[in-house]
Symmetry: C2
Subunit: 441 residues, 2 copies
């Protein structure tokens, strides 16, 4: 099973220092990032393509993710399905994932198997073989994936409908997995067109993390990826942007399968940009303050403890996207409490927060938590590889990634409040209610 748009790194506690990161560019335009970590004789090998579902052409939603699946179908050299078996036979594991902005393939193996991984990955970068039968079979797999992850989950369905209402013009309104009726029509030719237009070394980033030296990686990359010709089909990623959003959109999704009703709101929010991450850092801290901690956040204290109106609250912001992201809040009410009352309580907390400002003690604690989390994250080689790969795929630099932790520490209370006033704008928001009852006609 491939992963689509799944984040959340497994955290490992341990000693951590500054990342040792080297970068190169091959003659064919391929970027190379090497993260050294010699504590264990393993290596994570990743190839990231600067292509995601938001780069699909209209009417072909899901093709980026579908192609990700089909990339395991083999080449002239490797029989269908054999790549994962080869990795597995070497004691390794492999997987891939697709997001709105990028598609990545990775293997985790003993470091002396890196050469083989590069050989295999470079091979499928340009030599993918697809039969109609492969495509037909795999189309069933992605449709089943949609069934499991989205169609059988009213909360996921609400998320899709909300994203479609959040983005009036930008393709982030289309789900990564695709709209079912369009997925059903995706063809072998669609996949090959997408592959030929987007898969090439000058649209890719090689990330290798673990028990390797930059020199070894570069030499090996030149051997395996160096001969792959660059493509002149790669287009700049200029996507439609949003017009002014003038009116909050609201929706109620009523589904008999809903076990736990909730109120969720997303606000259009700026993303992290190269050399310009302070506002995003302020938003990240704002999310942590409002709803980052299940017991001490502003929403949790007010709604789960003081007034006992909620059983769960959260706020979320990521900012790791090429274009405008969303800032979200969610409140799950105590049993029996209506969603109107729940939303009013949520808004009362936000209004009070905007009036009161940041509590200095909270702010210090949040910064310490964020620092700890950044340090823990750095100790996970695979997580680090993923952080750099994702960041570089959306145009951030290694320097931006390395600056991020310091910027988070450097952001002031005033900047957080300015970010809060900017982002908590109902005109740019979508508010969703998930409920078991049918909404009143």
């Amino acid at each position: 099973m491939r992963l689509a748009w799944v984040f959340g790194f497994a955290l490992m506690v341990g000693a951590a220092g500054a990342d040792t990161v080297s970068t190169f560019k091959l003659d064919n335009g391929m970027d190379v990032v090497v993260i050294e970590d010699h504590r264990a004789p393993v290596v994570v090998h990743m190839v990231w393509y600067r292509i995601g579902s938001a780069d699909e052409s209209p009417g072909h939603s899901g093709i980026a993710h579908f192609l990700e699946h089909l990339m395991f179908q083999g080449t002239k050299e490797v029989a269908p399905g054999d790549l994962s078996k080869i990795v597995s036979a070497q004691g390794g594991s492999d997987n891939a994932f697709t997001s709105l902005d990028y598609t990545a393939y990775f293997q985790r193996v003993a470091s002396d198997r890196l050469d083989l991984m590069m050989k295999l990955e470079a091979d499928r970068m340009r030599n993918l073989n697809l039969t109609e039968e492969d495509v037909t079979t795999e189309r069933q797999v992605i449709l089943e994936e949609r069934n499991e992850r989205t169609d059988s989950d009213p909360g996921a369905l609400l998320g899709e409908q909300m994203a479609a209402a959040q983005y009036m013009n930008h393709p982030y309104g289309t789900p990564v997995i695709g709209w079912r009726h369009e997925m059903e029509a995706l063809s072998r030719q669609d996949a090959l067109d997408f592959y030929q237009a987007n898969y090439a070394p000058n649209n890719a980033i090689l990330v290798v993390a673990g028990d390797v030296t930059p020199e070894e990686v570069l030499a090996m990359a030149k051997v395996h990826y160096g001969p792959v010709p660059p493509s002149d089909l790669i287009k700049p990623r200029i996507r439609p942007t949003e017009p002014p959003q003038l009116a909050e959109r609201r929706m109620v999704l009523a589904d008999e399968r809903v076990a736990q009703p909730y109120v969720i709101r997303t606000y259009l929010a700026p993303e992290r940009n190269p050399g310009d991450q302070r506002q995003a850092a302020a938003l990240k801290l704002l999310a942590e303050l409002l709803g980052g901690n299940p017991t001490t956040s502003v929403l949790a204290r007010a709604l789960q403890f003081d007034t006992q109106k909620a059983v769960y609250t959260a706020a979320f912001y990521d900012g790791l996207s090429l274009d405008a992201d969303t800032f979200g809040v969610i409140v799950v009410p105590v049993p029996g409490q209506g969603l109107q009352e729940t939303e009013e309580a949520m808004d009362a907390v936000l209004t009070k927060f905007l009036a009161d400002g940041v509590n200095a003690e909270d702010f210090a604690r949040i910064k310490a938590q964020v620092r700890a989390s950044e340090i823990y994250g750095r100790d996970n080689v695979q997580g680090l590889a993923r952080t750099y790969g994702a960041a570089l795929s959306i145009g951030l630099s290694v320097q931006d990634v390395q600056d991020w932790a310091d910027i988070l520490q450097d952001v002031t209370e005033d900047e957080v409040m300015a970010a809060a006033r900017m982002v908590l704008d109902r005109k740019q928001a979508v508010t969703g209610w998930l409920t078991k009852e049918e909404a009143a006609q």
Copy 2:
């Protein structure tokens, strides 16, 4: 000033019979429709292109309409702006309009000037000249048009925001005039690309109505349009379609310029289809029943007279679109009445209508009104030309147009109620409130 997406025929009362319509196809693929009417020595000459704003590529909204303006900029033969002057010097008038689905150019002249009109129109079909200066100047004109028609009109802005929320995937969510920030970036090359990709005889319909014979028109069309080569760039109009709409979207647009608040709701609704117009006819009758007449419709009687909660009510449905249209209702409350109470009153009327069914007397009266309106419409040569042109541009046939009046008469009360139950589905609806007050945070 060019017209964008403006309907409403000037009605002339008079004797009317069946339309005398002839159709041909030139060797280069151009369709020809001739509507004979010899009562006055005038002729309406129209060229319709099967290309509208919903065929624009993402990020280039407004290019169809912009090109319509630029089509008056001249050719090798005709200096910029001269076309309208020539028509005017011949005692005629000309104009053009762009919709979601088509773009049309027309002149109304004395019938002995038809030859000249064809010469001019055929010339600009392939020989458009555009300078950077023309483009820069005309871009200011369309931006000013957007200012006047949309940005200065809160009701129009609400309509745009609602359409964007109504269509989750289909391009009807993008306004014909374009999003301002994209209009500002439209270039000469964008216009030329759109022109070259879409303007050709095999993507066009010639409609001539008035004091002409089919033989004359065909002979003249062969001379002027016949030599224009067909294009192999014309693509089938396959647009993204909607995924299931699972949750009503609601929005409040608050603007200090609002003089008259109202509640408006649009429901996704099927369009008229070739050989399959009964459901659309039922929806048309439903709109007439609910809100077609300012004094006798169901909404008017209930809200303007019985309960006196509204000063204006209407329902609207057109169905003359290539893809799914909307069915709309609007209620303007009496001064001082809130929009919540207004919407509840509107919904009570709809609920009662669904329970009670069609009043037989109302139904007979509506059918008589519709018949009269169709007959009056037929007496207006320009309106007829427009009806055939629009219908053929979205794939309907002359037969479909001619069958429409009979189908409207033939639809039963049961069909209207079935259409009402199908279309009045809040999950597929967007409800908008236009208000002067700022919405409560």
